[in-house]
Symmetry: C2
């Protein structure tokens, strides 16, 4: 059996691991759900468990990469702030994981890991600079430049969900107004849909859409695809917000590829694309659009784990 | 005499050259004005002339760097689009300059050259990532990352004047709405002041401010500093626009330094700063502001030429 690196993606609600060969092929994968209530020791335990499961059958494990849903101080590899797993705040993740796993460990922000995954083995392969946006509950981002994840001064670069698109717009979870995340995340799409349908009485809403509290971005995407005017409008406006944000990134980076991933983008490409592209073309000169491809992500839910594995391979000098 | 590199800054209205030693000290400088009517051969002639003047007394010239007010295709060094010197469009500048000068030549976009100058020998020395914004007639930008100018796919990265700050805002010279340049450039400040004072009858305007057609951003800055409410408001709003734009760059790069230069910033720091900082703090988390210094540029009008010289030194392997 050929050597593998194990990539681990710690999400807000579960831990996923994928064993990946040096050439990027995936050998084994495993998934441990229902993380939300766990503390630091249990997160560590889950990581050890999935690494063991994914690695046991796959081959010799040369290293482990771990993507965490957190701001990390790099190169130290310490968790600075994990909004959805506050028990991890202050955790010296790189050091403790390396000790517990007995192997070289690379830690990375989850969106940066997904960006690296798409650049290494996904839609952005061979395209540089590559910018990744992951539309999920929030909007994560990562930038791969010269084959490396852009980290900035202290490891917190690539916070693309908090690009301002409407300075006086909807309030974002971060407290600021008009962030991309307030429009193009699952949370933002839900908020916009509930606003757009606020005049509909509860019983009529219930009959048409089900429970107000329960509706998801995925349902709204299905409604939009089925012709519902409110749902369609909400995705069209999310596309406009994405177009504004991408125009910023295009002026900044003159990128070769922008890859859109995450659950929300996966199911809604056709809904987002027309307004995204129209807005973007109004805000960028042709010379900056010419070298650019805007692409759907290819690795799906594996992106973060594959990227983390790639970073582990890179750390041991083989990718 | 120690060796020098000559840095040349071709502006919309003149050509400036500075002879710079490998350690960054400036030896000679010269300036050739009134470029506006010149064609390609005359621009080349002016460059040869200033290089000769700056280099003659200073020492042996190891190389020449030239900053051009143009989108350049890199690494080819060809002028893709020079909005204020359209005769240069399509010029194979790197090749023709190297032949005419008989020396190694590095060409660079003028704002990128100024960014490199400030990073190499100015306010951003030793600070990385460093972002430079030059507020002049327009707003130029440049990003220095890992000691190198960020070029992107085809050499056009760092077009920071066209970051959108108000998606439905004032129209920019580029055709898009709400670009930073439409608010924080000399042109933008003039436009905003004329809008803010549009209700004032011509004779009253003339008595208070002089000719409507002739008023400059510098005069408006002086008026603002002297307590004129309209002028003060215009700079305050330019500060807000800068705050919004810088917040984007902070989320993208997690930078160590942002350097503000150019004629407009030079004279108006105290007018721009309060609203800039207030807006920026509302849009960025403390963790991203902690490692960051926002600084006035130090090299003044020499920034572009010094940066071009630094790039020439770098090209011959000495900086």
């Amino acid at each position: 059996m050929a050597d593998v690196a194990i990539g681990v993606d710690v999400g807000g609600t579960g831990v996923r691991a994928v064993a990946v060969h040096a050439d990027g092929t995936r050998a084994e994968r495993t998934h441990s759900k229902d993380l939300k209530t766990l503390d630091r020791a249990e997160v560590l335990g889950r990581i050890l468990e999935v690494v063991d499961q994914a690695g046991g059958e796959a081959g010799d494990v040369v290293g482990v990469g771990v993507g965490l849903p957190a701001f990390l101080s790099l190169p130290e590899g310490e968790v600075r702030l994990a909004p959805n797993l506050p028990e991890l705040n202050g955790w010296n993740a790189a050091e403790e994981l390396a000790r517990a796993l007995g192997r070289p460990v690379a830690v990375e922000n989850d969106a940066n890991a997904a960006a690296y995954g798409e650049a290494w083995q996904g839609a952005g392969k061979g395209l540089d600079p590559m910018i990744y946006l992951g539309l999920g509950t929030g909007v994560g981002g990562g930038i791969v430049l010269g084959g490396e994840v852009l980290h900035g001064a202290t490891g917190m670069a690539g916070e693309l969900g908090h690009l301002t698109v409407y300075p006086e717009g909807a309030q974002c979870g971060c407290g600021a107004h008009g962030c991309l995340e307030a429009y193009a995340s699952g949370t933002g799409i839900r908020r916009a849909f509930l606003e757009d349908t606020a005049d509909i009485p509860d019983d009529a809403f219930q009959a048409a859409y089900g429970d107000r509290d329960q509706i998801t971005a995925q349902q709204i995407a299905e409604l939009a695809a089925g012709g519902d005017a409110s749902a369609f409008r909400v995705f069209a406006l999310a596309g406009v917000a994405l177009g504004i944000a991408l125009a910023q990134l295009i002026h900044v980076f003159n990128p070769t590829a922008i890859v859109l991933g995450g659950r929300v983008a996966g199911g809604a490409w056709d809904l987002l694309w027309p307004t995204l592209w129209e807005e973007l073309t109004q805000r960028t000169p042709p010379a900056l659009r010419e070298p650019l491809a805007i692409l759907p992500a290819r690795l799906g839910a594996d992106a973060g784990a594959v990227g983390a594995a790639g970073l582990a391979w890179r750390q041991v000098g083989a990718a």
